[in-house]
Symmetry: C2
Subunit: 379 residues, 2 copies
Amino acid sequence: MSGRVARAALCRLSEPGDLRMDALVRELGAERVYDLLRNEQDVAGVYTDVAARLRGLDPERELAEAAARGIRFVCPGDPEWPEQLDDLGRAEPVQDRGGVPLGLWVRGALDLSAVAARSVAIVGSRSATSYGGQVAGEIAAAVGRERMTVVSGAAFGIDVAAHRGALAVKAPTVAVLACGVDRAYPSAHKHLLDYIADVGLLVSELPPGCAPTKLRFLSRNRVIAALARGTVVVEAAVRSGALNTANWCTRLNRPLMGVPGPVTSAPSEGVHELIRRGEATLVTRGADVLELLAPAGSFLAAPPRAPTAVADRLTDRERQVLDAVPVSVPAGTDSIARTAGMAVGEVATSLSRLRSLGLVEGGEGRWRLARRGDSAGER
Amino acid sequence: MSGRVARAALCRLSEPGDLRMDALVRELGAERVYDLLRNEQDVAGVYTDVAARLRGLDPERELAEAAARGIRFVCPGDPEWPEQLDDLGRAEPVQDRGGVPLGLWVRGALDLSAVAARSVAIVGSRSATSYGGQVAGEIAAAVGRERMTVVSGAAFGIDVAAHRGALAVKAPTVAVLACGVDRAYPSAHKHLLDYIADVGLLVSELPPGCAPTKLRFLSRNRVIAALARGTVVVEAAVRSGALNTANWCTRLNRPLMGVPGPVTSAPSEGVHELIRRGEATLVTRGADVLELLAPAGSFLAAPPRAPTAVADRLTDRERQVLDAVPVSVPAGTDSIARTAGMAVGEVATSLSRLRSLGLVEGGEGRWRLARRGDSAGER
């Protein structure tokens, strides 16, 4: 019996994220653990738990049936296994769950390791606002255009907006599920999931057929965080599962990013708290995400800039003269010099230059501001 | 002639934030500098600039007239002088302006030093959104309730919202102006400024009668930042003067705080950039500001929390059992144990406890979820 078969069996027997199973497999190897359980030997109390599930278990048949339906089982060490998942064996558990997945059931034509190599998780509330959904979609599309894979959980709200944003620019996207990759959960996303299976990847720790449970969602979140190079939280209320993913991202020492929103919006509360405590970096657009996740020095997000005004090219003292020029009734150079608190000679020179820039009008010693908009603002 | 008179004279002669004047006064003292200028001696090129303003200057009369109108001139070393302003003599200039004010013209009954001792600046765009104004007002009111003074610039938008928030809870508020404290700028805020003069303080580096200019606004911003213990930027587009105040706050090594907003809102762009670069700490409410500005350990902002659900008190394994209980058609203990991947005995015990918590219903070996809302969410 191969390690792969044993791992497929253990996947069916145990719940994902079970730390006892993770420790046993690491210590004894999957084959030995499966052998012990098959022989009704209780190791670390696991047998008692899995006894009922052992009955009728046939992992070889399960693997064959899955393969027939286009579902493969990717195990640690396989070429397609994303090595960054092994970090889960070193990260501190969150809420008593953790560990490296025994394997991942995968549906879709892409190579998981290849698409996850350049990837970002975009997660958030299922009860997202239209604002959150819009921003998630835009960030997903922006990173997708740079051929970065968007990883998410196919849930309502932010997740689906992120997947759609990636799909819209034909970027690879990976949905990590808390149920079998053959199941449509939530059922309203059946078409989306099928589409992702066609052009992206569906991934799960759970064997085909398994239903989602609350704990499976929690375990799933660690796979999202571990698969991606960093995680963006778009909207997350105080109890949102997205904060669990964020927590995993932090445990894995990967860049955690948060998109702010109105402070009056409950779905943004959790994100603001992450940023406030310094756990997440604030990001507002795909460029910010790329800057953080691309190799250092390979992508600098241009800071937002307003258009440069003519007045920006003035020296401090020329600006001081300009400030002293009246708006409507022209004033003499002497008067302007007095207002500016500067010598007449310098003021006269500056006024000529200001006229050449189209900022003041007049001449023969009387000046006023040119009639044009100046967007520079007064502060 | 006293130092006070000389400082009043130099206030009238030079522009606020003039680094040459700051250096001269520090090196020679205000009286000596004024003497030199009165005797038409050019020091550091200043005489040429101020010659026109020297004519007819009478600082004693000016001080007397100001006093008659309820305006006093507070100088460094006076009991009412806020010592934190002296930090401006050590901070690096911003845009070629800086230095300690020669003095401050003050209108209002409160003691400037006392009210500025516990203070926060709340600044932002003049073209604020209603969201920004609302949040500025709420933060001002929240810190005001803790007897913290709100410092701002009396401009349209965020400034006025901040002052009003403080006034609404009868908290002290200080408006630092870029014109004389006897002038109403903007004129639409005449009543507000008079009210602040009644119950708070109007403050300016500029002598009575002076008009605001762009450079005076920039110089004014440094006084706002230096007077307050920290600065909150609520909305600031990329070119907003509030970012100049923020820059001063950073140069002064005081806590800089930023209120986030929708990433789609231009007035929030500048604030997001400050937070993203780690220059500003994200704050969402008055409690966050108090936590940062109150003496360490004296004020901890309670993190936002959702109401605790009954299910939060479950152990991980009880939750695993709960997850396996069907919603509508009751299932037997054996079946639930198999679904949960746990031993029958433990599951039976857990089910009893879950029933006592009102989470499951049934008995005689058949169970289903109790019909009640559970807000915990599934992720």
